[in-house]
């Protein structure tokens, strides 16, 4: 029974940097605690009360000392803070070449979608040494996606995307926990992440081969008639979506639009999502407010489908937008209040 672990595996590239910082602060802790306990014991031994009427010398303070034990901790704190920010930057900025995996949390399970369209519940597979970027959201309440062995964690917030990334450095199977209390079965909202060699991974993928996310997104793109306005050739009614991902979009600031003049927005997953759920939120320059595009809420585009659409939009290269055929009818802007001029 004495062989219980007290040290989690460090199985990702960021883990060692977190580890180093952790050890530094541990050292600070031990140092300070030892100092305090040591002095307490020492003073008790040296200065215990010998006689009932013993009156010790009365010191009232020493400016030098007081400045000292204000200044030194301040400096140490600043060092720790700076180091912490450096590690944090590593934790939040994914490499450009990382593979996208989409995570949807719901009471009480984790759903994972791979670019290849493969789906998993409460499980995740990653390739040894290949960076993975998770885009996380939730269908109901707050959850938090945590992989202790990788030292990464991010809340799943309904209504928006959060991200985390990791690059596994040793094969194995590790815990996935939900660390944000999410209701009755919170402690059962756990899973396993399996880190495997490239080869095994490809084998595993091929076993559960599927129509890729992007392709399924393309179907949706046609089914929801996005193509009627977001056409490659004419941009009369809506901007083209080709290669829009991670571009800076200047926003329209006619009297209507709810953004400040001159504002731009980075077309990341969150922006693409918002523009589908609530088109009038941030309208690209040159198009007027309110948007003529209908708002697609959960009943029209589920979170899973949203990921497929976004995967498709991200995959759109120049001139790849499907051409519209005459039969496709324009979706009417149900979202626009009837009373609007």
């Amino acid at each position: 029974m004495w062989d219980f672990p007290i040290w989690p595996e460090a199985a990702s590239t960021v883990a060692p940097s977190v580890e180093a910082l952790y050890l530094f602060i541990v050292a600070l802790n031990i140092g300070m605690t030892a100092l305090v306990f040591g002095l307490l014991v020492l003073f008790s031994v040296l200065y215990y009360r010998r006689a009932d009427d013993q009156v010790p010398p009365q010191y009232h303070g020493s400016m030098l000392l007081e400045i000292g034990w204000t200044a030194i901790p301040t400096v140490i704190c600043l060092i720790v803070f700076a180091w912490g920010v450096k590690v944090y930057a590593e934790l939040v900025v994914p490499p450009a070449d990382s593979m996208d995996v989409y995570i949807v949390g719901r009471q009480w399970m984790w759903k994972a979608q791979y670019p290849g369209g493969q789906r998993e519940i409460n499980a995740l597979h990653a390739v040894l040494g290949k960076p993975v970027k998770l885009t996380i959201t939730s269908e109901d309440v707050l959850h938090s996606f945590s992989i202790p062995a990788f030292r990464v964690k991010s809340d799943a917030v309904p209504g928006r995307y959060t991200t985390l990334w990791f690059q596994p450095t040793q094969a194995g199977v590790y815990h996935i926990f939900c660390t944000e209390y999410c209701g009755t079965e919170h402690s059962r909202m756990i899973g396993k992440i399996t880190v495997m060699e490239e080869g095994d991974y490809q084998k595993w993928l091929s076993e559960k081969a599927e129509l890729g996310d992007a392709l399924q997104g393309r179907k949706l793109f046609a089914k929801l008639q996005c193509v009627t306005c977001h056409a490659g050739e004419s941009q009369a009614r809506a901007p083209s979506l080709e290669e829009i991902h991670m571009k800076r979009i200047p926003l329209s600031f006619d009297k209507g639009s709810p953004v400040a003049p001159g504002a731009t927005v980075l077309a990341d997953e969150n922006y693409l999502r918002e523009s589908i759920r609530y088109p009038s939120a941030k309208i690209a320059a040159g198009y007027q407010y309110p948007s003529i595009m209908p708002a697609y809420d959960e009943s029209l585009v589920s979170e899973d489908e949203m990921f497929q659409l976004i995967a498709y939009i991200k995959s759109l290269k120049k001139g790849q937008t499907p051409t519209r055929n005459e039969h496709t009818t324009t979706p009417t802007a149900l979202g626009a209040p009837a009373g609007r001029p």
Binding site: A89, V92, V93, L266
Partner: protein, 109 residues
Amino acid sequence: MSLHPPAKAWTYWANFLALCVLTVVTWLTARMDLGALSTPVALGIAVIKAALVVLFFMHVWESTPLTKLVIGMSLFILTVLLTFLFTDYATRNYDVLPLDHAAAVSGKH
């Protein structure tokens, strides 16, 4: 021989007139479209009106420094609440840190 000598009556009436005028002014300014300025103007006038009430109706004009400190303290904390909230909301749509991962790892940014 009261604890505090009563203020002159006319100060109250003058104050009342000033407040009425400011109310009309703020309404008129609000009706013309000042764009981004409209809110600062409206709030600015509101602050002036509030100051008049506090200083003369609530007698802070001739009150002790302690009272002024108390007011200052509550306004300070209120400001902290409102402004520090914005450190989150105003920066949420920024691009995350250096977009170049290598820079982040090596810490050169």
